[in-house]
Amino acid sequence: MKIDRFSPPGNLTDFNDALAVAWSDFISSQIDSEVDGLLSNSGIQPQFYNPSKLDVGSTPAPISWPAFPGVLKATFGDDPEKMFQEGEDRDNQDEYLEWSVIRENGKIKRVMFTCEGPEYWAFIAKKDPKLLVDLYTKIAGKPVPKKDLLSPGGTYRPRNKWNLQFAVHLIQSANNLGAEINIAAQATVLRRNAGHNPITDPIELIECSRFGVKERNSDPHIGDVVNQKARAGCSVALDNPIGLYIASLPKPADLKWKKPDGTQVGDYWKLERGDTNHIVRAVYEVPAGEKSNGKPFVVGDITIEGTPIAFGGQIANALRIKLTGLIGKQGVFHNKTFSCPGTFFAMTKPFSRG
């Protein structure tokens, strides 16, 4: 079935109808740009398509990966404290999930997670600055001055102090919807190695096509799944609403995290934006009134396998991030393979996750 209109990420209801239409047009044009790029570079019909323009009888296929940065695990895995410390830097949070932490008396009180793409917020900033301020105020729980978000000329400041404090949306340079669309598109290109054999290994593929960073969990995995389907002759698109999402909020019985008294924690998650299948913002905080040993406690008093939560990344470590592809029928395409592009092609891609 063709998608009538691309919904906002997470099926968010921030927009009026005019903005919703404009957003859909924006996403559609991003996709068309990728499809056109593939067509002009390859000369053949791309397997990546725009599902608002074509109906190929596809089925949804989730692709998910661990949320804590694979790069940090590979670099600092032998030193967990260092690893989680590095993980608190938003610029190191590169698996399409970012988080910020609020502390009280040195202990973590609240951890805020976001998968919201910067394009969504830049779009709002441009189209409806009042809405921008209203949404920021709602997220922060206090009035946010417009001047903190927009320059006098009206340019949006994504790295404003409110975003840094409350993790309103993604800011790491590789975490954006354009990159998501780009990887999905580029990964539909079938590649061959120097020996003229089809490339099937995801690391070899990402090194060849250069659509991301091979050390991450996300980029090679997205590329691997998409390319595998493309090799099987399927068309591939991204499912509506296009976005990146927290796959689920883990249950206390699975986490087995402990309160100070040694008993299992309750469910301290709050889904703040999105819906249960498309979580774009979630917060982990001990509710007021919750007690342990008769006393109130905070997130920083909770232990994970005996270790107190000192970093937001320890919670991110329990999360998975997902996107959903749309996969068409097998055997429809029989595209040829392409050799690995040179530097020039890599530089002409609009969004690079690298």
Binding site: P60, A61, P62, I63, S64, W65, P66, G70, K73, A74, G77, D78, D79, P80, E81, T200, D201, P202, I203, K214, E215, R216, N217, P220, H221, D224, V225, Q228, A232, A247, K251, A253, D254, L255, K256, I304, E305, G306, T307, R320, K322, T324
Partner: protein, 516 residues
């Protein structure tokens, strides 16, 4: 040809590499009560610990004699011992030097504190609390049960005489199953077929490789596999101090880790899990499910076939990938075929050193990227997805998650393994696996793949947890191509009843550090 390093097998315990491979075993759990007495006792035990070079020499001799004689009759016998230590055990022996940041984090916290899905550690036979985690874990293994019993008796006497160490509970006996089930586990499935091959040589002769290379040097996969389907892994994934497997490279190694304590070199981490199995529950479910699904699908599904979908191999050991519809004993008994398969892609034919094609005319594995032949949640596909896409970047990363498995069954062989009657016997598997990082290997595989319903393969709907060993607070289930249904699984038929995380040090570390 890739240059491989020589392993110091004279210093690496033989339980790690090449592994004992004995029919009889006993695990003795020891607590330290007086450090000085323990050290004196340890000093005498150090020379009794089996070295890798002598175990390898024995295994090679055994193999050549068996080949020459055509049977195991009159084969040489051996008796081996290994020693491993818990974090608390090391701390007692080495004091302040034993800091958490010098060790694998999972090892430091211990298995009963780790969230690998186990219920009720307080009810474990061993290892369920700080007080019941052994400080020292001794594994004795022998070809002959009488020789094993004598050695256990001797060791017990030394422990009593030491007057500073005590045995926790009774030694845990383990033995391969009887008769036709030798080499199988208690559900009746052949076990231990797939093991990684360790890159490296036993001496400074580059041809003296530890794990035999059966592929022809002219085959393009010669540098990737030791034998058909048996992947080569750099030794640093199993023993500290050696080149490690790089999760981004096909064959190029990652440099060795530099341990904060130099004497950790040549050591490894041991995961020990006492897994109680309930064959009657397993086969009751497979029998009932086969009947129900046969009716539902109008196909004739046997209990054995259904069980095979859960495991990924037939009871004979033949992989579903190469025997999709029925068991194939010829595949099962051919060591160049029974592990030679990929999941997602078509498995290439490989040429052996003698010029023949591995597996001869046996059916090859077709590409199964959609899980139509071997279900995604099947045990062997969950624990080692091979060439499947995985959520941590794919097949090269998967190689870094492999472990050296050295387990052995315990408890009596059930007279009729597929009987639906509960004979009340305590039986199961003494799971033992060695790796350089419990956190990144055993715990990663268990937490990120086995216990998850949507990993390493994700789909909508999800395909479920590992039906054999997966644990979850939510009701477990699987989905497979056999039927369009979320097949709910009953309460686990494998339950952890003990175990722990241990460090298996080098022989020199026992002599020069732990016993002084």
């Amino acid at each position: 040809m890739i240059k491989e390093e020589q392993l110091e097998l004279g210093d690496i315990q033989g339980a790690i590499i090449p592994g004992f491979r004995k029919d009889h075993s006993a695990i003795i759990a020891v607590r330290i009560q007086d450090v000085a007495s323990c050290k004196k006792w340890l000093a005498k035990r150090a020379s009794e610990v089996a070295r890798g070079d002598e175990v390898l020499a024995f295994n090679r001799l055994y193999k050549s004699i068996r080949k020459r004689r055509g049977s195991e009759a009159l084969a040489p016998h051996a008796l081996w011992m290994s020693m491993s230590f818990s974090f608390d055990g090391l701390k007692l022996l080495r004091g302040e030097e034993i800091a958490p940041d010098a060790f694998d984090p999972a090892f430091v916290r211990g298995m009963f504190q780790s969230n690998v899905g186990d219920a009720s550690p307080s009810r474990w036979v061993i290892g369920g609390s700080t007080e019941t985690v052994p400080h020292i874990l001794i594994v004795v293994a022998a070809d002959d049960s009488a020789q094993l019993a004598a050695e256990v008796k001797r060791l017990r006497a030394t422990i009593v005489a030491a007057n500073g160490v005590v045995i926790l509970g009774q030694p845990q006996q383990g033995a391969t199953l009887d008769g036709d089930l030798r080499g199988h586990e208690h559900f009746g499935f052949k076990d231990g077929i797939s093991q990684p091959a360790v890159r490296g040589t036993a001496s400074n002769d580059p041809k003296d490789v530890i794990d035999e290379r059966r592929l022809s040097p002219t085959d393009e996969l010669f540098d990737v596999f030791a034998s058909p389907g048996r992947v080569l892994v750099w030794p640093g994934q199993f023993v500290i101090g050696y080149n490690r497997q790089d999760r981004l490279e096909l064959t190029k190694p990652r440099p060795p880790a530099t341990p904060k304590l130099s004497w950790l070199r040549n050591g490894s981490y041991l995961v020990y899990r006492r897994l109680r199995q309930k064959p009657h529950v397993f086969w009751r479910f497979c029998t009932d499910s086969a009947k129900r699904l046969s009716k539902k699908t109008s196909k004739d599904i046997s209990a054995e076939h259904f069980a095979t979908l859960l495991v990924g191999r037939w009871p004979s050991g033949a992989p579903l990938a190469r025997a999709p519809e029925a068991d194939n004993p010829a595949v099962a008994t051919d060591d160049d075929a029974n592990n030679d398969f990929l999941f997602s892609e078509r498995t290439p034919l490989v040429k052996l050193a003698d010029g023949k094609i591995a597996g001869g005319t046996l059916p090859v594995a077709s590409a199964d990227a959609n899980g139509l032949v071997c279900p995604f949640p099947a045990h062997i596909r969950k624990t080692n997805p091979r060439d499947d896409p995985s959520d941590t970047s794919g097949p090269r990363d998967t190689k870094t998650r492999l472990m050296l498995r050295r387990g052995i069954p315990y408890g009596p062989t059930k007279a009729a393994p597929r009987s639906l009657e509960d004979d009340g016997a305590d039986r199961g598997l003494l799971f033992m696996a060695y790796q350089a990082s419990i956190e990144n290997q055993f715990e990663f595989v268990t937490k990120t793949w086995v216990n998850q319903e949507n990993a390493p393969h994700d789909s909508d709907p999800a395909t479920g947890q590992d039906p054999i060993i997966g644990q979850s607070s939510s009701p477990r289930f699987i989905r497979c191509a056999l039927v369009d249904e979320k097949i709910q699984l009953p309460a686990p038929w494998i339950v952890t009843t003990g175990g722990g995380y241990f460090f298996t040090p080098s022989i020199s570390a026992i002599s020069n550090k732990l016993s002084v």
